[in-house]
């Protein structure tokens, strides 16, 4: 039986260890829980209809068995793990799922999940690949359809007023996350990368208001703490595909490094830009969830179809925020990582490396197998990298 911790980081750790605990309680109280994969499903629309958004993760400690019947080993092991857990009933507390066109396998997974895991509700958002104005219009239309199916499922109207309230609540959480991230700027950071990831995972397991309340506790605790991470010579930024388990960051932080910043989706990508409150709130949401989220799955360019190609200008347009992060968090090295078979991040790697080299930041690229066993090999490489940046 899980003991209730009262607050702060110890509650975060508890939630991290037993993610479904709180949503199972809420479900028993009559709430409905909506699973979502990745950061492209629009959480505000879920929250506005009094559903609890719950992010679907894998489990790198659980051997994949049932998913082998549906997904081959040459696809993203994270997505295979998600499906495996679904097939094993580990997500039986979900009342529905929302998935989006995040990548080839992610899009395909939506159909396979429908046919094999079977839930009372599902919706797939065919998020466009570009940020063209036409794509933004299309995105808005797709969200209108999402609204229809949510309204049909809940029997409630998703009014602009409710949506605005939900946007404000989620923006409040975004602001709190940024405040937490500010506490990683000092030397040494007041909160480790490992702890930060645990906080992010906890937030993605709770209703937005409860998550924000927990976050306020964590921020206050961290500001006052005297037992924060030790100062280490390397201050690293972690870029890349999903990290939903602390093992990888723990491995890095067991060496001579503090992980002080990230550009990952269980991290800053989901929280850094706010959703703009527009007259029609769907407009702001459509823009945010297509244009402002930073993930290589979206094709971004400075000027659509610019007639003269300038590679460095293109890199600057796509990655300058990394330079800003590096400056603000005083980063002196970057670990680029991707789960094996992640194509979106794989194509991006040389470009990111070029950009980082142009601003004098050393980097290393690591491919992960989404398993604990593979970490030992990576540890050696990280160690060598840290010695190099010394």
């Amino acid at each position: 039986m899980v003991e209730e911790a009262s607050h702060g980081l110890s509650r975060v750790r508890q939630i991290y260890q037993d993610r479904p605990h709180r949503v199972r309680e809420l479900r028993a109280e009559g709430k409905k829980v909506m699973g979502y994969l990745c950061i492209y499903p629009v959480l505000e629309m879920i929250t506005a209809l009094d559903l609890v958004p719950y992010r679907i993760f894998g489990d790198m400690r659980e051997p994949i068995t049932k998913a082998d019947a549906y997904l081959p080993t040459v696809v993203c092991p994270f997505l295979r793990s998600c499906l495996d857990l679904g097939l094993k009933g580990k997500y039986d507390f979900l009342d529905g799922v929302v998935m989006a066109h995040i990548c080839d396998v992610g899009a395909g997974l939506a159909g396979i999940w429908n046919m094999t895991v079977k839930m009372p509700y599902s919706h797939f958002i065919d998020t466009p690949h570009t940020i063209h104005e036409t794509a933004q219009e299309q995105q808005r239309g797709l969200l209108k359809d999402f609204q229809k199916t949510l309204e049909s499922f809940t029997g409630k109207e998703l009014s602009p007023g409710r949506l605005r309230e939900a946007i404000e609540a989620h923006n409040q959480q975004r602001a709190l996350v940024r405040e937490l991230y500010d506490l990683r700027k000092p030397g040494p950071p007041l909160i480790s990368g490992t702890e930060t990831l645990q906080v992010m995972v906890a937030l993605m397991s709770l209703p937005v208001e409860e998550g924000s309340e927990l976050l306020r506790e964590v921020i206050n605790e961290v500001k006052e703490r005297r037992d924060g991470p030790p100062r280490k010579p390397a201050r690293l930024l972690l870029w890349g595909s999903i990290i939903d388990d602390v093992a990888f960051i723990e491995m890095i932080e067991s060496l001579d490094a503090n992980v002080v910043m990230d550009d990952t989706c269980v991290g800053s990508r989901a929280y850094f830009p706010d959703v703009k409150l527009t007259n029609d709130p769907l407009d702001g949401l459509a823009y945010h969830y297509l244009v402002e989220l930073r993930c290589p799955r979206t094709f971004k360019e400075g000027i659509p179809g610019e007639a003269r190609k300038d590679y460095m200008a293109d890199l600057e347009n796509r990655f300058s925020y990394l330079g800003d992060y590096a400056k603000d968090w005083k980063v002196n090295g970057v670990i680029l990582q991707a789960v094996r078979y992640c194509d979106s991040h794989g194509y991006e790697v040389p470009g990111v490396e070029d950009y980082l080299a142009s601003i004098g930041l050393p980097s290393i690229y690591l491919e992960r197998d989404y398993s604990e066993g593979a970490l030992a090999r990576l540890r050696t490489r990280v160690q060598a990298f840290l010695e190099m940046i010394g």
């Binding site: 599902s122 219009e137 239309g141 094709f299 794989g346 194509y347 470009g351």
Partner: protein, 457 residues
């Protein structure tokens, strides 16, 4: 036939050779255009841009096809190795890695074609046309090529809704509007880049011409349902590139060649001549993208009576007549004549009662099993050859699921042989042949099972 001389196992269509020659034409035309100072676009095959580029007199070259050419000629290694050295992970699309390696070499040479490039190579492009259709590589690869080529890049979006979402009210019209606006913006971009106006009459002519070309090609493939199968997959793969890559430019000639092929295949149907020169013991479908580097492997299977009568990828869509009487704007006419909504597709492909059942199933379940691989029933398939590719998630991710569905729905077993489209080191033909031999017993067993269950074949 001279006694003692064994005929080749695959009975190649004579009409195929003229179509196959169009592959070379892609590259010859690209080089000529460059020499003449005409614009050249490196494109992803995506179904929309060809006629538009043709109407703007832009020559099109397809790096993804170039990957298959390099693979078939055994010349991918230097480009793949170069892509690896450039830092691109080895699990990325083989076509992309071949193309990235090629582009890197081109940059080394100041924009000149690498001397080691087969088929004359691809000239430096005036523009790059990426696509949001079918897979992530189609835009991520071309985006990455900005490292080596200073050509401007345009990415053409294409909707790919989920099945249930595609049936929602208004979804089809929204997708049509999306495509129309995307293509209009693409035309505006081209006009600005090239300093000339779109020839709308030429676009309309090409639209009509390619429609007819695809209709004939579709009918050729419908003939392949006959027993014995009159046309082997190798002939399909050799013949498809003409319409896919040169169709917009040469639709009249290619239509004529497909008509010749139709006549030849029809003759075989009437005279029960198979696509293999052996007894057709097994009717097989190929699911995935072919191992372009090792197509001779299929001859070994043909020796054993395996007739690959159809394949899952690259097929022309079923033709349909859209009512354009109220549509005068050329881009909208273009889109509506080619983009058929899911509901309409289902009603076109199935009897009305079955179509309604399928649509209700989709609305209820989110998808319909029987939409997947209807061709297995139509072509009376004994076995599926599934080819998971280590470097193509889009063509591979669903294969285990397909294997399960084919068995559940049709009692058709699958043989899984892993490989790659361009990297020969990832395919073991000797091992594949051993597995194929063992698989024959399984196909024989399930012939009996289907009979017992009252299935048609």
């Amino acid at each position: 036939m001279t006694q003692g001389v064994k005929t080749r196992a695959i009975n190649r269509l004579q009409s195929m050779y003229a179509l196959r020659a169009y592959v070379d034409k892609i590259y010859q035309a690209g080089l000529e255009a460059k020499k003449e100072g005409r614009p050249v676009a490196w494109c992803m095959a995506e179904g929309w841009a060809g006629p538009i580029l043709e109407a703007m007199d832009v020559e099109t070259v397809y790096p993804e096809n170039y990957g298959t050419v390099c693979a078939a000629l055994g010349r991918t290694a230097p480009f793949l190795e170069r892509a690896d050295a450039e830092g691109f992970p080895t699990h990325l699309c083989g076509y992309a890695r071949n193309g990235l390696g090629y582009a890197a070499r081109m940059r080394d040479l100041g924009g000149e074609i690498p001397p080691e490039a087969p088929a004359g190579g691809m000239p430096k492009p005036t523009l790059l046309l990426a696509s949001g259709m079918a897979c992530d590589a189609r835009f991520k690869w071309f985006q990455a090529m900005g490292r080596y080529l200073d050509a401007p890049l345009w990415t053409l979006e294409s909707p790919s809704p989920g099945a249930r979402e595609a049936l929602m009210e208004g979804a089809y019209e929204r997708d049509v509007n999306f495509l129309v606006k995307e293509l209009r913006n693409f035309v505006t971009f081209l006009e600005r880049l090239l300093g000339k106006k779109m020839d709308w009459d030429r676009l309309e002519e090409t639209r009509e011409g390619t429609k007819e070309m695809n209709a004939v090609w579709y009918e050729v493939n419908e003939l392949r349902k006959a027993r014995p199968g009159p046309m082997h997959s190798r002939d399909f793969w050799s013949s498809m590139s003409a319409s896919m890559y040169r169709g917009a430019r040469d639709y009249e000639a290619i239509t004529g060649l497909y008509r010749n092929m139709y006549d030849e295949v029809n003759y075989r149907v009437d005279n029960k001549i198979a696509g293999i020169n052996r007894e057709e013991k097994y009717r097989v479908t190929f699911i995935g993208l072919p191992p372009w580097h090792s197509l001779g492997f299929f001859d070994q299977l043909a020796e054993r009576g395996w007739n690959f009568v159809t394949e899952a990828a690259y097929h022309p869509l079923k033709p349909f007549d859209a009512d354009l009487s109220m549509v005068s704007e050329p881009i909208e006419r273009y889109v509506r004549s080619r983009y058929r909504g899911l509901a309409q597709s289902i009603y076109d492909d199935y009897e009305p009662e079955e179509a309604s059942t399928i649509i209700e199933e989709i609305k209820r379940e989110g998808s319909a099993h029987r939409l997947l691989y209807k061709s297995v029933r139509d072509f009376q398939i004994d076995g599926a050859f599934l080819h998971p590719l280590l470097t193509c998630r889009a063509a591979t991710f669903a294969l285990p699921f397909v294997q399960t569905l084919l068995m559940e729905a049709w009692k058709v077993p699958s043989l899984v042989i892993a490989g790659d489209t361009v990297d020969i080191s990832l395919f073991d033909p000797a091992d594949a042949l051993k597995k194929a031999e063992a698989f024959e017993g399984i196909m024989d067993h399930y012939k009996g099972v289907r009979k017992e269950e009252g299935l048609e074949w």
